[in-house]
Subunit: 199 residues, 2 copies
């Protein structure tokens, strides 16, 4: 008995499909499910099926929605500006600040040659189709400031600039409230380079 | 839209019930389920229900099993020694070394005054009932060497010793292959105190 019983092994394999979950964590999750009440385990399974059944991608912006259009695309009062994000989590973070009144576009993925994801697989055609249709005046490319996110942003800018649309990126710099002593060198260098006059 | 849509929120709450999973991790898991194929999500839900339906506790040793008795209790060739463990994960780890040929007893819990778990709630009565019935010659108390595990082991020893059974604990010391420089002080102190002559 070097392995768990088959129904437990199958459940462990399912938990391993979650992002960042290895064998040990998956086993811990699976055993905790066995310690739940029958009702709790049934609620868990029902929540999985229910979310998967009710939630789909908005055909306009690719955000998650339970309606035909997502609540942002359905809102006529949104300004004709599109903020491009990597995923719905980033979209939620920006919505949470309640400052941004424009629209969004959720990429299918960032560029990733390692995973075989080239420029034709990130969902840019749908973004381009929106520019004229929605009379977009500006595209804010808010991909993550990582190697893949930066490469994706550069590519999007190269494609969009010839189309005559204004393309911007959120400012990089020292996070508010952070200690300069602990800022990494690259962030600090970019913050100094992009320094602003005190007004 | 400061929160996710309701079916996603419900799924996030379910993932938060897993050990060590906070809101951000639960949201990451929930969104990854939405990115799965319909079939994968259905397999996940089915695995949850199936494991919960088929797996229960062995009435003798409290180990997880899909039969009436677990495979260890059903094995007549096991020596009349009982190794007491905190959970099925610890049992699996000991089985994996393929050296131990005795039986097991999985506690319901360790003693934990903080969680209101006193001596009557750890499953000791079932262990005591086994001693005479199975002609047990030795009980190895293999709870974790933590504050709660040690306290539980001390309590079990105090209860079992008057019953005339031999009670032991696995040796504590420097892990094989470890660097003494990195061993913690308590482990090092116990290892020195329990030093053995070279043979």
């Amino acid at each position: 008995m070097a392995e768990y019983l088959l129904p437990i092994e199958i459940l462990i394999e399912q938990f391993r499909k979650l992002p960042g979950v290895g064998r040990k964590t998956a086993a811990r999750y699976a055993l905790s499910v066995l310690d739940m009440s029958k009702e709790n385990a049934e609620d868990f399974a029902a929540a999985l099926l229910d979310a998967k059944k009710k939630i789909h991608r908005c055909p306009v912006c690719n955000n998650l929605t339970d309606k035909e259009l997502c609540s942002i695309c359905a809102d006529d009062s949104r300004e004709p500006v599109i903020c491009v994000v990597e995923d719905s989590k980033a979209l939620m973070s920006i919505e949470r600040i309640r400052e941004y009144r424009g629209r969004f576009h959720v990429l299918d993925s960032v560029l990733s040659p390692m995973k075989g994801i080239g420029p034709d697989k990130i969902g840019l055609d749908r973004l381009i189709a929106r520019l004229e249709r929605e009379g977009i005046t500006e595209v804010i490319v808010a991909t993550n400031p990582t190697i893949e996110g930066d490469a994706t942003a550069m590519y999007i800018m190269r494609v969009l600039l010839p189309l005559g649309v204004k393309v911007t990126r959120p400012a990089l710099g020292i996070p508010v409230g952070a200690d300069i002593e602990y800022a990494d060198e690259i962030t600090l260098a970019r913050a100094l380079k992009a320094r602003n006059p005190i007004e």
